[in-house]
């Protein structure tokens, strides 16, 4: 889970390598992997999942470099990676647009690039792109909130939002999806206080938000890690008049939803399991194989993971995917 108080968080998110023809050991594949420094649970899960998935294959060697502080540093790290001649590169870029040029270079040099999560604008810059659906997260959260509010018969709801780091494009997309969907029902966000994907920043952002909105009907918090702090703030402020939706789908959040003793009623997924899939598919690309359930001979070019809504009803299904 998102707490190290629990064990082997990644086990459920990696796929055992024992089923199907594709898992048969094949040509040896060296995969270069790069993701930003893990300073919070979701990115940590990405790296851990990638490593665990690679370890599950006997024919995969994973060479990972941490991306450093920013896009420029990640480029430098990637050039040291390229100089070690990997067969495929899997990367979660700091920023898709900033690393687009790198993708082009690597592809031109004949190294297939698997891009995770943050899209390259240029289709020639990647062989495969696996994205979470940030905009879709916002849509899902808003849809759930709107439905719940309808059930309660609230006509002019006060809705709060606690995004993550506000300067990131992914935050922008999430907020846009949220705002667009609310707008289609004539609702709007009353106040949004960004946090930094950490519990303490979540607590402080939430405290500020509560001060600004003495009454609230619903709250969307983009990230379950910072949600720990948001829930703490809710507790400390003694507020329970609203419903809260989380984001990403951490184990603790799913447990809270299942227990149904907090204001957290749902969370919309953005699963780090995409890293495991990326490694599996990178291996296939390296070996020139296709996905065995598809008719096509090669791995497809783009996969967008759906953002699902976890509620009390389906929580038990998702528990094993919580990170």
């Amino acid at each position: 889970g998102c707490t190290s108080n629990e064990e082997a968080p990644t086990a459920a998110q990696t796929k055992a390598a024992a089923t199907g023809g594709n898992s048969e050991p094949g040509k040896k594949v060296t995969i270069g992997f790069s993701a930003p420094a893990a300073d919070h649970g979701w990115i940590a899960a990405i790296t851990n999942n990638a490593k665990a998935q690679a370890a599950a294959y006997s024919d995969v060697e994973l060479k990972s470099v941490e991306a450093g502080a920013d896009a420029a540093a990640q480029r430098a790290a990637l050039s040291t990676l390229i100089s070690q001649k990997p067969d495929v590169i899997v990367l979660l870029p700091h920023d898709g647009k900033e690393l687009n040029a790198f993708g082009l270079e690597a592809m031109k040099a004949g190294i297939p690039v698997v891009n995770l999560d943050r899209a390259f604008p240029d289709a020639k810059a990647y062989r495969l792109q696996i994205k979470g659906d940030n905009y879709g997260m916002g849509v899902a959260a808003a849809t759930y909130i709107v439905e719940e509010l309808k059930k309660k018969g609230v006509s002019n709801p006060i809705i709060g939002e606690i995004p993550g780091i506000d300067s990131l494009e992914l935050t922008q997309e999430r907020s846009k999806g949220f705002a667009d969907t609310l707008a289609s029902y004539g609702f709007k966000v009353a106040n949004r206080r960004p946090a930094e994907f950490t519990a303490d920043s979540g607590q402080q952002a939430a405290t500020g938000l509560f001060q600004a909105l003495p009454k609230m009907d619903a709250l969307w918090n983009h990230d379950d890690d910072q949600g720990i702090g948001v829930l703490a703030a809710i507790n400390q402020a003694n507020r329970k008049e609203f419903l809260m939706v989380g984001g990403a789908g951490s184990k603790k959040a799913i447990e809270d939803i299942q227990a149904d003793n907090t204001v957290l009623k749902a969370t919309v997924t953005y699963s780090p399991s995409m890293a495991s899939s990326a490694i599996s598919l990178a291996r296939l690309i390296g070996q020139g194989k296709g996905m065995s359930d598809l008719v096509e001979l090669q791995v497809p070019k783009e996969i967008v993971l759906a953002s699902e809504t976890i509620t009390k009803e389906n929580a038990s299904d998702y528990l094993k995917l919580g990170f």
Partner: protein, 373 residues
């Protein structure tokens, strides 16, 4: 002069001088009359009028911020319950950084700087929320947070004093290393605190005031006494103001420096417990950039970055001003970018206001003095 019989010339000057230089400022004359009355200055009055005036300037800035709040959100400020709650919220928000800033103020007055405070808070927080530590209960958690803070501070101090590293570099290295260690210990996960007592620190109120605010008040009071009324504080000022003079006056500058960083580390340990309680969890990235907040608050509060001067009250006011600004933005729902642009302006304005306060006072006095030619 003392044994000269008053010649006409002297007498004349004696009569002239008071007319030429009227009472300089209220504080000084008050002090002078008190001195005359009791033979010594009153216990509580600081010696440095400047610090007091500067703090008055800061309070002026604070009032201005609140007035802006009232003007922009009259609806909220109309509700006295809300206002009281908001004041407590601001103080609660200020409490963690405030405790860190007290330690930082000592370090800066002592001629150093501590860039590792945020990292120490994170390391202490992570350390005290591991499964193993939590099994010892609240006492064990508090003990381990304090110990970790103190120990890291000691290492900082030793590196700087005896390793002769520049404070900036030593504590920067510690920042990096401590965050790394915190990530290692927590396996980069957010560690939830299950301890009710600890978590209760953030939600307990006494007489309607949050426990966190009491802790802040206690640390500030202790810091004030330590700085202004103890030999430790005097040494700190001496060590920061002129280390060579301090050394030649028999002060053990190296040992004192070690103690200063240890003190800062201890404050971080206290802050770690407070922050962990607030977030009911700890992680390696927590207390991000608190070093910047603490240094900025201390400097806005009048602490000289080069050491030798500063006040605890000023630092506290600095922290409260920053959290009032944040609060002002929150209740007005400003977007981050607008917020940042306005914040830069407010910081500049705040410092300028302090100076105008100064400048005008002295100018006013010199203008009022009858010109003599």
């Amino acid at each position: 002069m003392s044994d000269v019989t008053p010649t006409p010339a002297v007498a004349e000057r004696g009569a002239k001088l008071p007319a030429q230089s009227p009472p300089v400022d209220p504080a000084e004359t008050a002090a002078a009359s008190e001195k005359a009355a009791t033979g010594r200055l009153s216990w509580w009055r600081g010696d440095s009028g400047e610090g007091v005036r500067r703090n008055l300037g800061l309070i002026g800035v604070l009032v201005a911020l609140i007035v802006i709040g009232i003007l922009t959100r009259p609806d909220l400020y109309g509700d006295s319950n809300w206002v009281w709650g908001n004041i407590l919220t601001i103080l609660k928000l200020a409490s963690v950084v405030g405790v860190v800033t007290v330690g930082m103020t000592f370090v800066i007055i002592g001629g150093g700087i501590d860039l590792s405070v945020g990292a120490i808070v994170a390391l202490a927080g992570v350390w005290c929320t591991t499964v193993a530590t939590q099994s010892y209960g609240a006492g064990g958690m508090i003990f381990s947070a304090f110990t970790v803070g103190l120990a890291v501070g000691l290492v900082n101090g030793l590196l700087i004093s005896y390793g002769r590293l520049v404070p900036f570099i030593a504590t920067l290295a510690m920042l990096v290393a401590a965050r790394g260690l915190a990530a290692e210990i927590s396996d980069k996960q957010t560690q939830v605190s299950d301890n009710r007592t600890i978590n209760g620190i953030a939600s307990t109120n006494l007489l309607g005031i949050p426990l966190l605010v009491y802790i802040l008040a206690a640390v500030v009071a202790a810091g004030w006494v330590l700085l202004n009324r103890t030999t430790f504080g005097r040494r700190t000022v001496a060590v920061g103001g002129n280390p060579e003079a301090a050394r030649l006056a028999g002060i053990n500058v190296k040992r004192h420096t070690v103690l200063l960083y240890a003190l800062s580390g201890l404050c971080c340990g206290i802050a770690a417990i407070m922050l962990t309680a607030q977030a009911t969890s700890a992680q390696a990235a927590m207390a991000n950039l608190y070093e910047l907040d603490a240094i900025a608050a201390a400097i806005i509060g009048g602490t000289l970055l080069s050491g030798g001067r500063g006040t605890i009250i000023g630092s506290l006011l600095g922290v409260v001003i920053f959290s009032t600004i944040t609060n002002l933005f929150a209740i007005n729902g400003l977007s981050t970018e607008a917020q940042n642009m306005v914040k830069g302006g407010i910081i500049v304005a705040a410092v300028l206001v302090q100076q105008v306060q100064f400048g005008s006072l002295t100018q006013f006095l010199s203008r009022n003095r009858p010109t003599t030619t």
